[in-house]
Amino acid sequence: MFAELMEMFRGNAVEIPILQPIIDALMGIPLVNFVVSFLLWKPLFAILFAPGLAALMVAMLFIIWFERKVTARVQWRYGPLEISRSLGGLIQPLADGMRYLFQEVIVHREAHKPLFIQLPLLSFIPVLLPFLFIPAGTIYAIRTPYALPLIVALISLVPMLIVLIGWASNSKYAYLGSMREVFMYFGYEVALIVVVMAMVLMYGSADLIEIVEKQKSLPGILFNPIACIAFFMVTAMATSRFPFEIPEADQEVVFGPFIEYTGIMFGIVMTLGYEKLYLLSLLFSILFLGGWNGPTIAILGDLSPALWLFLKTVVLMMMFVFLRTVYPRFRLDQAIKFGWTTLLSLSVISLAVAAVIRLVGWL
């Protein structure tokens, strides 16, 4: 049984020439070689390392540090600098996470205790499941022609869990925050679906690998810039980036649905927004920026397209995070009005442009 499994794993393994000597050495040891080949099996590698959990963690550590540093630069101050002074405070998010581990998790009397504690952990499920369908070069878990609609459907589960988190807290301000989250979701969801439909129409298939293949000559942003702008604004609305940071407004509803969380639970719910941002930025770079197209670095082997995808995603996240320095936040009805007039019209126009491109036959 072991041998059959090993055959299956070795047949679909990730090739990294730079690490080949270490892998060969570890293959000699009996039990370790099973574990190593299991880890290098493509589906598991996609979920755990790239573009899955490890890449997500690295991206989040970097982007939290970058957000604090760039806002500090614009605001005439330094930002976090004490922890690792020579690196410019780079491991500050790690230090913050460790601090959260030492703080007490308080569950207040009125909360519905099972939902209150379990939901933030359960909310990792709709965030991590799309990684099964997003390929990074040749590293993918499941290749299906229905990848894109599946990813969009899974992303739309996250607001539902946030509303449930607010409900479980059983507090007035959490209720207000959940209401705002529901209204915001109505604002952007239709525009998101129409834009994704436009891109599927333009490329002719919903399979992400084929989409990147078609962008070998020119990235998708040059074909349909209107869809790019619309998707940018939808991402800003979906992940509570300024100017749409409405459900978690710190000054109005005191951090919205997450008001009662302390300690490590607070650390977990704070990273939910960033994880959604990572997912949507991955989608953005695959749909519009040419995915993992880029010059191949030979020694990294299969990791080279994954590295290109990761770099493009991180640069995009940096752009989203920069918006924090320049914008205040909208009011709820203004944001919904924006979503249903401007965004929806932009999405419909992009649908028309995509239809025209398909008819003319450029793609």
Binding site: R73, W76, R77, F322, T325, V326, Y327
Partner: protein, 172 residues
């Protein structure tokens, strides 16, 4: 009389407003104007008339009680010294650093230092007796540079020099 009007924005002006805001943000991100003084590695240069902690010149004090009388926070208490006369003691839990006492003394016995960041270990220590007031406070300085703000043509320049500030004035 000046009348201000709030603007009615049409589409073009709104786009221009967005682009202006983004441009200012980008310019500050690339070339920041920082005015942080990284205390305790740097210390700000204080002017000579700064109101910090006080040192008593015991030879000048004539025990007239005027400083204790004028103190708005009632922080000065007079206690008997070894030569039988009464000398002031300052309770730094109450002192508001207004220096009314320094202005009141006709003999000029109170001298101001530039020490403003003081730490005490417990509350009883905060009532500084006259023996402690005569000597300058014990300083532990960590800074390497002194920063002063200078403005030329509307631009702020942080002048950092290695010469440390004289916190306690020399006796003349």
């Amino acid at each position: 009389m000046v009348r201000v009007k709030s603007p009615e924005l049409n589409f073009i002006e709104r786009m221009k407003g967005h682009l202006d805001a983004l441009r200012v943000g980008l310019r500050e991100a690339i070339k920041p104007t920082r005015l942080t003084v990284q205390y305790p590695r740097e210390r700000r240069k204080l002017p000579d008339n700064f109101r910090g902690m006080l040192i008593l010149d015991v030879n000048g004090c004539i025990s007239c009680f005027q400083c204790a009388f004028i103190c708005p926070a009632n922080a000065i208490v007079m206690k008997r010294g070894p030569d039988g006369k009464l000398y002031p003691c300052v309770n730094y839990a109450k002192c508001i650093f207004c220096h009314f006492c320094a202005e009141t003394c006709t003999k000029g016995a109170w001298k101001s230092t530039k020490v403003m960041d003081v730490a005490f270990e417990n509350e009883e220590e905060m009532l500084l007796t006259t023996e402690k007031l005569i000597k300058p406070p014990k300083l532990g300085r960590e800074e390497e540079k002194t920063v002063s703000y200078e403005i030329k043509n509307g631009e702020l320049i942080l002048v950092k020099s290695d010469k440390l500030d004289e916190l306690i004035p020399k006796n003349e």
